[in-house]
Amino acid sequence: MATALPTLRRNWLVTMRAYQWTYFVGTLATGILTVGLAYLAFHAIGGGRAGGGFAAAAGTADYLGYVTVGAAASMFTVRMVLWVAKAQITEQREGTLESQVLAPARRLPYLVGVGLQALTTTVVEVVVMLAFAIMIGVRLPAPDPVTLLAAFVAASVAVFGISVPLSAIMISVGEAHITQNTLFVAMGLLCGFTFPPAYLPDPLRWLGEALPVTSALRALRAATLDHAPLSVAAPDLLLCLALGLAYLAVGLRLLGPAERIAIQRGGSA
């Protein structure tokens, strides 16, 4: 793990020097827009009441709370994936992938370092967004702190886990945009950020369950909206952790070959 902290520090230095405020505003705007639109729809169209079907499918009648937690989780996922999955393709573009691969350091601690730094930045962004939601009058019930913490950890592992194979795909095809956006669209549709996956046809629902973000999101909502104790959220938490670690293991196996493909494609120097 010797590489994790230096990589964390390196990314801090770089981020402090060249933080893209446009990113911050951009992500924040998305989160705020989601919550804001839900708020408008809820009051203007629904007259302040969600349909009875929603309560049955979502397990809660608190539509605004449901959407707010979803938007916060979505922001967290997107930002973390962008940081972690794009770390290596960024190295490739800046010409440092070879010096990275040339060193004996392992990839997991490197990515953990990137992930930890991403976590600090992302948490700040999510907190700012939640503060906005509370400001416009979304009432978030007091969460169960233990379940919330466990869900946060599980969600972090899940998002980190899916980022690693994504990184391997990105460097081996030398492309980030299409890859990341495909994942984001799939997650937006399947994982239940804005609407309960119960509305989806069965095959799509199963597909959603294969993504650890789906179970992470259920656990997060249980912790916040339902004030659920750890024992109730435990099955989702375990599923999320198991899936996240499986993605991580597969990703780590893929990285070596992906790096070689990337270097070979890198052209003759």
Binding site: T7, V14, A18, T96, S99, P104, R260, S268
Partner: protein
């Protein structure tokens, strides 16, 4: 010792949509080399000969298609991580450092990737910065460095793990003359201290000065090897002697022709007669004597022994370039 045996590396042809792929490129085609510790070994060849590809395979960046490479007995494929600790690579003209970190931060970060002990790292960074002349720029972001400064930082990066083997792929590309000279001194010192160095360079003077043994490759195959002097002598290329006279003297031409060597007559920029002689041996002494005896007054006499460059061009099968000199 780094040993390659029948090393082959081919790159698959670029696949094009709806069109059959062309043949694969055999960038390295059965090379057997050895790079001993404590010496600088040269790897020479024209553009596209396969030098960079060979170096990348030795550096564990590319895997051999067939054949074997071992570093101190460890196989590059099976023991890549262990080998990475012992080697490093410095390539010219590449962006192998982080633009958004300072020079010192770069070296610090790479030191961590190589697990350099904390007690050693601080002093090593200072020494390396001093060595490449970046002490004053250590706190400046690399994106503000000139190209030569980046290259110097890359050199320091390549030495951060105190490698047992150093692979140099045109390391002086883009460096100004004093720094390039310093680097040559550093490389010579490293070899004296026991580091095994592999050097490719298009500056052949650099190779002639540093390398005891040189491999010449063409199209991925070994075409010659030996010391720079042996290689030059082995190709039997002509020495050239150029002689300028103060004024035209009719007896001189006959005297020069009597030497029996191939020669050309011309005039220099000041309209003085010149003779250009080519022969396998150095005929300068005999030429001078013959000219003086024939009553000529010599203004200038220049002797050019064949260089390694001529030898390589000759071996790579481009005789026109040799004749052009």
């Amino acid at each position: 010792m780094i040993v390659t045996h029948e090393l082959r590396k081919s790159f698959p042809a670029q696949r094009k949509l709806f069109r059959p792929a062309g043949p694969a490129t055999d960038a390295v085609d059965g090379l057997s080399l050895s790079i001993p510790p404590g010496a600088v070994t040269g790897l020479l060849g024209l553009n596209g000969a396969g030098k960079t590809t060979t170096i990348k395979v030795l550096a564990t960046l590319l895997r051999p298609t067939s054949g074997s490479v071992t570093v101190d007995g460890l196989d590059v494929v099976d023991h890549a991580r262990e080998i990475r600790r012992r080697i490093n690579l410095i390539a010219g003209g590449e962006r192998m450092v982080y633009a958004r970190l300072t020079g010192r931060e770069n070296l610090w970060y790479f030191g961590q990737l190589y697990d350099v002990p904390r007690a050693v790292l601080g002093t090593r960074i200072d020494e390396l910065l001093e060595l490449v002349g970046l002490t004053d720029a250590a706190g400046t972001l690399v994106e503000r460095y000139s190209r030569g400064m980046r290259q110097r930082l890359s050199i320091a990066r390549g030495l951060i793990n105190a490698p047992a083997y150093l692979l140099l792929d045109e390391p002086t590309l883009g460096l100004d003359a004093p720094i390039a000279r310093d680097l040559r001194a550093v490389v010579a010192n490293l070899a004296r201290d026991g580091v095994g160095v592999l050097l490719t360079s298009h500056y052949l003077a650099e190779v002639e000065q540093l390398c005891g043994h040189v491999y010449v490759v063409d199209h991925g195959r070994l075409v010659a090897e030996g010391s720079p002097t042996a290689l030059t002598a082995g190709t039997r290329l002509p020495h050239t002697v150029e002689l300028t006279l103060a004024e035209h003297a009719p007896a001189v031409s006959a005297a020069v022709a009597a030497l029996g060597a191939e020669f050309e007559v011309g005039v220099d920029t000041e309209e003085r007669p010149t003779f250009l002689l080519r022969s396998p041996e150095d005929l300068a002494g005999e030429l001078a004597t013959a000219v003086v005896r024939a009553g000529g007054a010599i203004v200038r006499l220049e002797v050019n022994p064949p260089t390694l460059e001529d030898a390589i061009l000759a071996m790579a099968g481009t005789p026109t370039s040799v004749a052009a000199r």
